[in-house]
């Protein structure tokens, strides 16, 4: 497998302690004043030209948030965040209405290059400039689109500045745009679905997000449509002291299908950065949403200084019968990860899946898992979680599987495997299982293992260096999950695993 070889090269090519994406792009930003107040909420809403109902919605969330306490049940430890010492809005100044990539700041394009956007997607991005003549675009029939096609909605410090392949998507009736644009162009859809999966007052961070979210992505797949390409968003936190509050809403109408890719990197910097995104997915009858994430934010230095705090609320609602939502995540970055992509299995025969690889090294702290809430008859779910801890990191799987009274015949299979590298890290598994009817079947398997000295000796005896041996063994450990990632992400992820585990041995 060529990708494993890539991993090895990657490990060789990067110095330990040198964060690959540790750079800052110099683009002038427009900041709202520091701190949080009703005025800031109004300011953000005003900047986005939002209708009155949305401003009210935000204010309601803000008032609610004031009464809430930061949760402390997760197995993570960090200094108290001063929410009044953050900027809540930053938008690149140079981006007013670019209609094509030619109009986009070249520094931004350089950033994409530095981000190491997968080759396929880079080609597409580069191709976009040529494709800019409408005639070429129009000739691209939906039928010709191979699986290699990826549409990218790049969120650069809060505001979507580049949207590609829009026309092709439009042909299929797919709406893929920034959520602020969706509010303007499709207010009825946003109003109908926003906050219906993650309510405004769901939790401390989600409520904060509801009050101050700056922008994010919006996807709408009409009835019976199979989205002709993978939809991909690259997030990048770039402005110092700016909390990023993304809001993503994906709606799959009856019988539709969409695969969504989210990948992230962030520049190196000293102060902690807060990220509190909300992602809401709605799948109606017979619809399927596949949501994949590769998260590679700055994890902090060897002593745990700096690094991003990631408090994310991701939830999918299998609202219709036979609907399916599948989360696949690869978490390698962030100082603190607090993240539980979940499924509400409301529809009869609906299915939820959670495939996760969480790697922690250095002083990283990961508390992640999923919730599978079975409400519909014969709903089923599957959880495969692979946690890898190295260095002085702590890695916790926290999961809830519950079946309500009406969810007769519900089924769940959970497998949680932890791998420890070294003897200063920790792996924890905290599963909660609740069944309120007698016909549900829940299975839970958990293992904890170490990379054995024998495995290391064997691999090195065959010529592999210590770090390449670790990367190879870990890639083997996570293989079941890797296979669920879209092709575009697989090779990249294998590299990332190698990079993330640098300095974990010897």
């Amino acid at each position: 497998m060529a990708a494993v070889q890539d991993t090895i090269e990657q490990v060789r090519g990067v110095d330990v302690d040198k964060y690959k994406y540790g750079f800052k792009t110099e683009i002038e930003s427009e900041l709202a004043p520091k701190g949080l107040s009703e005025d800031i909420v109004r300011y953000i809403s005003g900047k986005n030209d939002e209708p009155e109902w949305l401003l009210e919605w935000r204010l309601e969330a803000y008032r609610r948030w004031l009464t809430m306490e930061e949760p402390d049940w997760a197995r993570v430890d960090y200094p108290k965040i001063d929410f009044q010492d953050l900027y809540y809005y930053a938008a690149p100044k140079t981006t007013e209405g670019p209609k094509s990539l030619d109009e986009v700041d070249p520094i931004l394009l350089e950033t994409y290059a530095k981000l190491g956007i997968p080759l396929k997607e880079q080609e597409i991005l580069a191709g976009v400039r040529k494709h800019d003549e409408p005639s070429t675009l129009d000739e691209d029939g939906v039928g010709e689109m191979g699986s290699g096609r990826v549409a990218i909605d790049a969120v650069f410090d809060s505001v979507s500045v580049v949207t590609t392949f829009k026309k092709e998507l439009a042909k299929a009736g797919v709406i893929f745009c920034s959520i602020s644009e969706a509010v303007r162009e499709h207010p009825e859809l946003v109003k109908k679905y926003l906050g219906t999966v993650v309510p405004q007052s769901d939790n401390f961070y989600a409520t904060l997000n509801s009050a101050v979210y700056s922008d994010g992505s919006f996807v709408y797949i009409p009835e019976g449509v199979r989205c002709p390409m993978e939809l991909s968003t690259y997030f990048r936190i770039n402005e110092e002291n700016t909390g990023q509050f993304e809001r993503t809403l994906i709606i799959a109408e009856k019988g539709s299908y969409v695969s969504y890719l989210e990948g992230c990197t962030a520049p190196m910097r000293d102060e902690n950065q807060l990220h509190a995104a909300v992602v809401e997915l709605v799948a109606l009858d017979d619809a399927e949403i596949k949501y994949s994430t590769v998260q590679n934010w700055y994890p902090g230095d060897a002593n745990g200084k700096g690094g991003i705090y990631n408090f994310v609320t991701k939830r999918g609602d299998c609202r219709g019968k036979n609907s399916k939502i599948s989360w696949t995540q690869v978490e390698t970055g962030s100082a603190i990860t607090w993240k539980y992509p979940s499924c509400i299995l409301r529809g009869e025969n609906s299915r939820g899946e959670f495939y996760s690889i969480a790697i922690s090294n250095g002083r990283q702290q990961v508390d992640s898992g999923t919730k599978m809430i079975h409400l519909g008859k014969n709903s089923s779910s599957r959880i495969i979680s692979k946690g890898i801890s190295a260095g002085h990191s702590q890695n916790t799987y926290r999961g809830l599987v519950s079946a309500h009274r009406k969810a007769t015949g519900a089924r769940n299979f959970t497998q949680c495997d932890s791998l420890l590298i070294g003897d200063k890290c920790g792996a924890h598994t905290v599963p909660y299982i609740e069944a309120k009817n007698s016909s549900s079947t829940f299975e839970h398997e958990a293992t904890t293992s170490k990379i054995s000295d024998d495995q290391m000796f064997y691999a090195r005896q065959r010529g592999l260096g210590e770090e390449e041996a670790v990367a190879l063994i870990v890639n083997g450990f996570v293989r079941d999950v890797l296979q669920h990632l879209p092709m575009e992400f697989m090779a990249e992820t294998q590299k990332l695993i190698g990079i993330s585990l640098e300095g974990s041995v010897g």
């Binding site: 497998m1 060529a2 494993v4 070889q5 090895i8 054995s452 000295d453 024998d454 495995q455 000796f457 064997y458 691999a459 090195r460 005896q461 065959r462 010529g463 592999l464 260096g465 210590e466 390449e468 190879l472 063994i473 890639n475 083997g476 450990f477 996570v478 293989r479 079941d480």
Partner: protein, 251 residues
């Protein structure tokens, strides 16, 4: 090629000495058999040569191709052409055998400053070698040694050896756990690798393997020392008389 002088070895963190002054010289093209009763230090010798970390050399030296072998990292020894066929090959779940082999080969080539092999060239090489060893292609897709039978594991070891083309092969009890048919296949594979510039050290408890892999020199290792060296007939002698003679000598 290999020159072992007065090698004393103990288990790290313990006082028990396992090798008590081993002397051995192996020249290119030669096949040496090391025989001996259980606990005589045969496997320890193979581990010390390949650099396993649980052992401590307290005295003596090992020179390989003019270099101080004991000063080299495990993977450096591998790239320099030293291969150990394990008595109990290790499982690596989730890593296809093919991937493992390719990664290993290219790591070694890179370390030696050679070009990496392209995928088609590698596939061709492996296919060829696998056929010779009667290794089914499906086996190469399975994770390294996971769920392999005893015979499959040993064949996979020899396949790795054939692909990596080492200069010095150390075979640690390669015959253990093999039925006669598997033994023949494995031995054929090993014999096919015999060449004027390649040396082999075949470690075994029984003479049986040496009927198929005929050695140039046979050493008897007992209680941490080479107590007798002779030609291939020495193996037959041992088969007839057992190790008792040497064990009393050592005691």
């Amino acid at each position: 090629m290999l020159d072992i002088k007065n090698l004393h070895v103990k288990i790290a963190d313990e006082d028990t000495e396992i090798l008590k002054g081993v002397n051995l010289t192996v020249n290119p093209g030669e096949v040496h058999a090391i025989m001996g009763p259980n606990g005589s230090g045969k496997s320890t010798l193979s581990y010390v040569l390949s650099g396993k970390e649980d052992y401590e050399v307290t005295e003596g030296s090992v020179t390989y191709d003019g270099a101080d072998l004991l000063d080299m990292e495990i993977e450096e020894r591998a790239s320099a052409g030293l291969f150990l066929a394990f008595q109990y090959p290790i499982e690596i779940p989730g890593v296809p055998t093919m991937t493992f082999l390719r990664t290993a080969l290219n790591a070694q080539r890179k370390a030696r400053g050679e070009e990496e092999l392209t995928t088609p060239a590698f596939m061709k090489l492996v296919k060829e070698k696998a056929q010779q060893l009667k290794v089914r292609p499906e086996m190469l897709k399975r994770p390294v040694n996971v769920g392999f039978s005893g015979g499959e594991k040993k064949r996979a070891e020899i396949l790795q050896m054939a692909v990596l083309e080492p200069k010095l092969c150390v075979l640690d009890e390669t015959d253990s756990g093999l039925d006669i048919d598997a033994l023949r296949v494995v031995a054929e594979g090993v014999n096919a690798l015999r060449s004027p510039d390649r040396a082999m050290i075949v470690i075994t408890h029984y003479q049986r393997l040496l009927e198929y892999i005929v050695p140039d020199v046979v050493h008897v290792l007992s209680n941490g020392r080479v107590v007798k060296t002779g030609g291939k007939e020495l193996a037959l002698e041992l088969e007839a008389n057992g190790y008792a003679e040497f064990e009393t000598e050592a005691a």
